[in-house]
Amino acid sequence: MTEEIIIAGFGGQGVLSMGKILAYSGVMQDKEVSWMPSYGPEMRGGTANVSVIISDERISSPIINQFDTAIILNQQSLDKFESSVKPGGLLIYDPNGITHEPTRKDISIYKIAATAKAQEMGISKVFNMVVLGGFLKLKPIVEPKYIHEGLEHSLPQRHWNLIPQNEEAIEIGKGLIEPVQVL
């Protein structure tokens, strides 16, 4: 199993930390992982993205340009990465702020209205975990108990009291994700 993922959105949406929690969960489940962020000028206000690879084998390049899954959280990222999803791959997007819907016909597309749901429930801080939940529903590559361990390792101990809220958000995400186009 090798899953190559891009997570992309605005800075501040928790893109990098979502990737880190996913990667750390993979480590806990004894997978090979890599987490390669954009750290350039775009991070200093604007878009942020991170490539995460989770695999049973030694990972060759942490730098990749084609993805099994793209998790897209704004229009710029959709424009940039829709074409980078491998044929037969998966695209997940949050419809918030999306003006041009994805058009690819050779990939599966799902949407998750995580921004709206998180605002409605007053849990904006764990918005990224709602999205992660949606992804894990479709691709359960990491088991829930390892997600728990991943959260423990990714969050400083003083924030461990927030872990249940994060896990709840993941569950909400699993129920929220809906198909747009299934291959």
Binding site: S34, Y39, I63
Partner: protein, 360 residues
């Protein structure tokens, strides 16, 4: 601290390895994309645990000269920076090499020339292995290609530095520095005691016992005949490194029709391109340089005898390719592929370059 499995950035791995390998001191100045080295050291506060000194100097020139002063006493002293900062350190580096001072310098390369960009690049190959500073000297140069190697090579660096009384350079880049991967940490190596330091660095300026003359640390010798003898001694040392300390990795080279030659993050991208090529039925291998100096000349020459072409992959305009061509005496078609200015080539691009520049 016992062995642990962690997820961390390459830069953080460098810092943690410094603490764990018994490093006595670190002097540095912040610069993207290596700032996490000092950030991690400051957060870990090793002065409270191992007694390691960590100091932010006022500049890179100050850092390297603090390294010179500290390392002259036989202590394990390190610095790190990124390309423009390493340029500022070149005077200090040639003095350190000329005074035969073991030390560790880490360069997390970014794009140049000048201040360039903060994104990854590998355009400091010439600076690292062809001088940089003046005079006939070499830095033992290690090129890590993973977070684990960022960590492990710090331990290796101290062995080589003290064995040969020579500065060691870890030449990394922004991609490996910023990337997070799995890391197995090692048991702590305690810092040397006074006694161990005197034994391991008998040449150091740690005080003068009555039974020997002064230890003098200098790179100045006005008498040419003595300076030539010293130069010959340095060259003999470098020759011994070439004989004994070459490191490289070969993947799928046995049956390869074509090989990539690469180091650091480019070698990871080339590995992916190699897998993609094999899926298409093209027999491609990867020759990964681990030491850039000493260069694995003989080993590469041997592999080159059996291949139809070599693609050098480096995030530069083509620097390493010169040593590849020297090693193979230009006996096989050899081309360079790279991107500049902080653009990281994709595996697809590397494979296309192989098909267009070598196979066609």
């Amino acid at each position: 601290m016992a062995k642990e499995l962690k997820l961390m950035k390459g830069n953080e791995a460098i810092a943690r390895a410094m603490i764990a390998s018994g490093t006595d001191g670190y002097f540095g100045y912040p610069i993207t994309p290596q700032s996490e080295v000092m950030e991690t050291l400051m957060a870990e506060k090793p002065w409270e645990t191992t007694g390691m000194t960590v100091l932010q100097a006022e500049s890179e020139m100050a850092s390297i000269n603090m390294v010179y002063g500290g390392a002259a006493t036989g202590k394990k002293v390190a610095t790190s920076s990124s390309s423009p900062g390493i340029s500022l350190m070149q005077e200090g580096l040639t003095y350190l090499a000329g005074a035969e001072i073991p030390c560790l310098v880490v360069n997390v390369m970014r794009g140049g020339p000048g201040l360039g960009t903060i994104q990854p690049s590998q355009s400091d190959y010439f600076q690292s292995v062809k001088g940089g500073g003046h005079g006939d000297y070499q830095l033992y140069t290690l090129a890590p290609a993973s977070v684990q190697e960022m960590y492990d090579f710090v331990f290796d660096a101290w062995d080589i530095a003290f064995k040969y009384r020579n500065p060691v350079l870890i030449l990394s880049d922004g991609a490996i520095g910023q990337c997070m991967e799995k890391l197995y940490t090692r048991d702590y190596v305690p810092r040397w005691t006074e006694e161990e330091r005197r034994k391991n660095a008998p040449w150091g300026t740690w005080g003068k016992p009555a039974n020997r003359p002064h230890n003098i640390i200098t790179s100045l010798e006005l008498e040419s005949s003595r300076q030539e003898v010293f130069n010959l001694k340095l060259q003999a040392k470098y020759a011994e490194m070439k004989e004994k300390e070459v490191r490289y990795e070969m993947l799928n080279c046995e049956d390869a029709d074509y090989i990539f030659v690469a180091y650091g993050s480019s070698s990871r991208i080339a590995m992916k391109a190699m897998q993609m090529a094999r899926e298409k039925g093209i027999k491609v291998g990867l020759f990964r340089l681990i030491t850039l100096f000493p260069f694995p000349t003989k080993q590469l020459a041997e592999v080159a005898k059996h291949v139809k072409g070599i693609l050098c992959v480096e995030m530069s305009a083509g620097q390493m390719i010169e040593d590849v061509k020297l090693a193979t005496a230009c006996g096989v078609k050899t081309e360079h592929f790279g991107r500049f200015g902080g653009i990281i080539p994709t595996p697809t691009e590397v494979l296309e370059a192989l098909e267009n520049k070598i196979i066609k």
